[in-house]
């Protein structure tokens, strides 16, 4: 099906097609995939890829293809529901109207605010991926006027840290691999060049489409000749197609990157011109990398020295082809205590090799983004006193300078305080299934959150978090059920802007924007006075493009054809229009004075995971197996999709990947159930024996709960049976409070009979 250019809907009143660009719900990273929705007699009957979409050209993954099944799943919640707080854990929900829901929120908001004497009594927790990520800070700041807001992941180890580090080192948004996104004709534009090598570092982008990047663009470029280097503890499919695979020990990425820098600097393979003109702190960096000769790095990372040399030379020289090279960074970089260092080191690689904002390198957007504001700057509605009184204020000033979220690991101890010492009395779970996904030690979170006076959840299904903790359930609209704007890379690097177009109504669901807006109109009308409708809001958001939302809807997807490369030479990177970078020195800051001030360390360096042989031999003796977690599946988005039969058929159970040697040692065979445990927690998963992983370590999938099981207390849909985050202690984090060892923990394993029997 094709929709004619300039149209977004064709057909009759009861049988029509709508063109949209997908974000959420269900969760995804907003890669602006193009889809055509077929609605017949008021029902979504089909979805197809949209061939006119410049990024996906008609391609769709199985989750989009499964959207009718998801949308019409019998367990889907379609109306607001309340439950007596005394009944938490019981399925005694009662349908109410939206007006009653808003009344209840208002009533409880004023109550908890009165009790705590501050707006900070409300804590907003945002989930990852969904459009909620654009609105949960706004709900907190502009609606509740509370400074307490976070994505509750230990070490804030999501996409935030690398954006923050890029903004201090480069003064830019997110440096993404060049995929022709600066041009309408994409790869066919003569200004575009493919990367000679692309390093896929700690990521499986084909499956995860992280942060707004449609992963199969990498396949497009491989077809054109781009060669792949993979840095990953496991062999991925991309690894099986790679020139080099650096199969490092989890949690040693910073050491590896420093080793590569060592080779590149000592063999004089760096871009002298770029370094001299545009880099600050090269000598200090050189001195630091001299502490990381490849032989030492081999010892730390278990990657053979010769392989490190080869990969470093390939990246720095592009085999003498004159092309550039790029690095695709995954969230594994954040999910270790070396978070700040490994990102700093990888960004340094990009910079000193002259691969920044050049064709086929890592490219960045110009300063002025497509969209207007309305995100973290809404903190202006929070009083100075409340800003100072927020959770984890003592962990300042880093957060205030970088992200406006509170530091996640400070939340749990606050929630655990006795009633008379605690500020927070109400939690708003915005597309956040915290008991199953994100926080470390969810077994402590459940008890702590139970102490709240009132909890609200916005979601699509009764999750364990809703069932165990919440008193009000607000049903979220799927992407065919609402209008929206898709800003790839969450607006931090947005060469495309897509219209998410509503195709139909279903039940009484509402989008995140609609709830944020309607609640704001009640609680803080001043903030929202300039908008009468949510369409006014969207018009305002995209005003810099010169289009209204309705015009964008007709356009479909807008691409900013003709962004320049090397914007540091054109003045497009700085607020003052001068050449250079938007940093204090006007250069790329290989040496960061900011970081020096905040944690005493201006340069990257390797520190072992607190849960490793080097840092904790006692623990390693007791728990000799390295545990890494969180590899993505085609069928899931974190804790979503488990109730959808066609997805569950493909991935029926949580999986523990283990090398045959280690499996034999522990008496485990394929499809056995195993319990993974340490002093902090335990989880059960089904064994998959494979040589993609080295002996002595295991990988566990995350986000598991079992919608088919009893949802009431104490089972909560089996939320704690396979919950791998229970093994990670809260607040075991890296410097500047960034990075947590989700990817580098320690455990032991034992064979068990099943999910429930020993």
């Amino acid at each position: 099906m094709q929709i004619p250019e300039g149209e977004y809907r064709v057909g009759t009143d009861d049988d029509y097609y709508v063109r949209t660009n997908v974000w959420s719900a269900p969760g995804c990273h907003g890669a602006a995939c193009g889809a055509i929705l077929h609605v017949k007699d008021g029902k979504l009957v089909d979805i197809e890829g949209d061939e006119s979409n410049p990024i996906t050209n008609g391609r769709l993954c199985i989750k989009c293809l499964g959207i009718p099944e998801y949308q019409y799943h019998p367990d889907r919640i379609l109306y607001p529901m309340k439950r007596d707080p005394k009944d938490r854990g019981k399925n005694t929900w009662e349908r109410i109207t939206w007006d009653e829901a808003y009344d209840l929120i208002e009533e409880n908001y004023y109550k908890v605010r009165e009790k705590s004497g501050t707006n900070n009594a409300v804590l907003t927790l945002g989930g990852t991926g969904r459009e909620a990520t654009m609105f949960y800070p706004v709900i907190s700041f502009a609606d509740f006027r509370s400074a307490n807001v976070a994505a509750p992941i230990s070490g804030d180890s999501c996409y935030g840290p690398r954006c923050m580090i890029a903004s201090y080192m480069f003064g830019t948004g997110y440096p993404e691999v060049d995929s022709g996104m600066f041009f309408n004709k994409k790869y066919d534009d003569p200004r575009f060049e493919r990367s000679e090598y692309m390093i896929i570092w700690g990521s499986n982008p084909l499956v995860s489409n992280p942060a707004g990047y449609f992963g199969h663009q990498i396949i497009d470029m491989m077809k054109m000749g781009t060669k792949i280097i993979v840095v990953d503890p496991q062999i991925t499919w991309l690894g099986s197609r790679a020139e080099y695979v650096l199969q490092l020990r989890p949690g040693t990425d910073a050491a590896l990157a420093l080793g590569m820098l060592n080779v590149i600097i000592n063999e004089d393979l760096y871009d002298h011109d770029f370094v001299e003109k545009w880099c600050y702190g090269f000598d200090e960096l050189s001195e630091r990398v001299s502490e990381y000769p490849v032989e030492r790095v081999e010892e730390i990372t278990q990657v053979p020295a010769e392989l490190i040399r080869k990969a470093a030379r390939a990246y720095a020289t592009a085999d003498g082809t004159g092309r550039n090279c790029s690095i695709f960074m995954g969230v594994a970089m954040e999910m270790q205590v070396d978070c700040v260092s490994d990102i700093q080191a990888v960004l340094s690689l990009i910079a000193i090799c002259g691969n920044l904002d050049v064709p086929g390198g890592n490219v960045v957007g110009p300063r002025a983004s497509f969209t207007g504001a309305w995100r973290y700057e809404q903190i202006k509605w929070v009083s100075e006193e409340d800003k100072k009184g927020r959770i984890g204020e003592e962990r300042e000033p880093i957060e205030r300078n970088a992200l406006s979220n509170v530091q996640s690991d400070a939340i749990l101890p606050e929630l655990e305080l006795p009633d008379d010492e605690r500020t927070v009395r109400m939690i708003w779970f915005n597309s956040c299934n915290a008991l199953v996904c994100m926080p470390a030690e969810p077994q402590r979170w459940i008890e702590a959150c139970k102490k709240m006076d009132f909890n609200v959840v916005q979601d699509l299904f009764l999750t364990p978090t809703a069932m165990a903790l919440c008193d009000l359930f607000l049903p979220v609209a799927t992407f065919p059920e609402h209008d929206g704007i898709v800003q790839i890379h969450y607006g931090r690097h947005t060469p495309y802007l897509g219209a998410e177009v509503k195709a139909l109504d279903y039940g009484e669901t509402k989008s995140d924007l609609q709830v944020t807006f309607e609640l704001g109109k009640r609680l803080n009308p001043e903030a929202w006075a300039q908008f009468e409708t949510i369409e006014d809001f969207m018009d305002d958001q995209i005003a810099p493009t010169g289009l209204t939302f309705d015009e964008l809807r007709h356009e479909g997807i807008l691409s900013f054809d003709g962004w320049n490369y090397k914007k540091y030479e054109t003045g497009e990177m700085r607020a003052d229009g001068q050449v250079g970078f938007d940093t204090i020195t006007g250069m790329v800051e290989l040496y960061s004075m900011h970081f020096e001030q905040w944690c005493g360390e201006p340069l990257p360096k390797h520190e072992p995971s607190p849960f490793s042989e080097e840092a904790n031999p006692e623990m390693a003796a007791k728990y000799p197996i390295i545990l890494t977690t969180g590899g993505r599946k085609w069928t899931q988005f974190h804790s979503e999709w488990h109730q959808v039969e066609s997805m569950r058929q493909i991935d029926p159970w949580p999986v523990l990947t283990i090398n045959p040697e280690t499996a034999a040692e522990y008496g485990l065979s394929e499809k056995d159930w195993a319990e993974v445990y340490n002093d902090t927690g335990k989880a059960r998963l089904k064994v998959h024996v494979s040589t993609v992983i080295k002996p002595g370590m295991v990988h566990a999938t995350h986000g598991w709960w079992f919608p088919e099981q009893d949802g009431e207390a104490p089972n909560y849909f089996g939320a704690f049976k396979s919950n791998i985050n229970t093994l990670l202690p809260n607040d075991s984090i890296g410097r500047m409070y960034k990075g947590a060892p989700y990817k580098s923990n320690l455990c032991n394993i034992r064979r068990v009979r099943s999910l429930d029997e020993d």
Binding site: G58, L60, I62
Partner: protein
């Protein structure tokens, strides 16, 4: 004219969009398939990693005759994330295989 399906499976990533979109197009149950993605490996072979996803059409595949008559791509061809499926006239298949030259290209000629 006789048509065939060419799959450049050396670059098939195992995303299963072909399997799922075909099932949807043909109204098949979860137990049925018009095309199925099999997996070989991952294993080391002569020191290198060998890992292939091999999509295999079943007897239910009619190359999406109806869709193609309407000028649309076959469902699997349209949705394939790696864009490795092509429905081509029989006489073009050999030429296209040689053009791709990945060593791992398969062809199907459903009856």
């Amino acid at each position: 004219m006789r048509y065939g399906m060419l799959i450049d499976y050396g670059l098939c990533t195992g995303c299963k969009s072909c399997e799922v979109s075909c099932r949807k197009e043909k109204g098949l149950t979860l137990e049925e398939w018009g095309i199925l993605v099999e997996q070989i490996g991952p294993k080391r072979l002569a020191g290198e990693w060998e890992w292939d996803f091999v999509p295999v059409p079943s007897r239910l595949c009619d190359l999406c005759e109806e869709r193609r008559a309407e000028g649309k791509k076959a469902a699997c061809e349209l949705h394939c994330l790696a864009q490795v499926i092509e429905i081509l006239p029989l006489e073009d298949l050999g030429r296209r295989m040689a053009e791709l030259d990945h060593g791992k290209v398969s062809c199907f000629l459903p009856r």
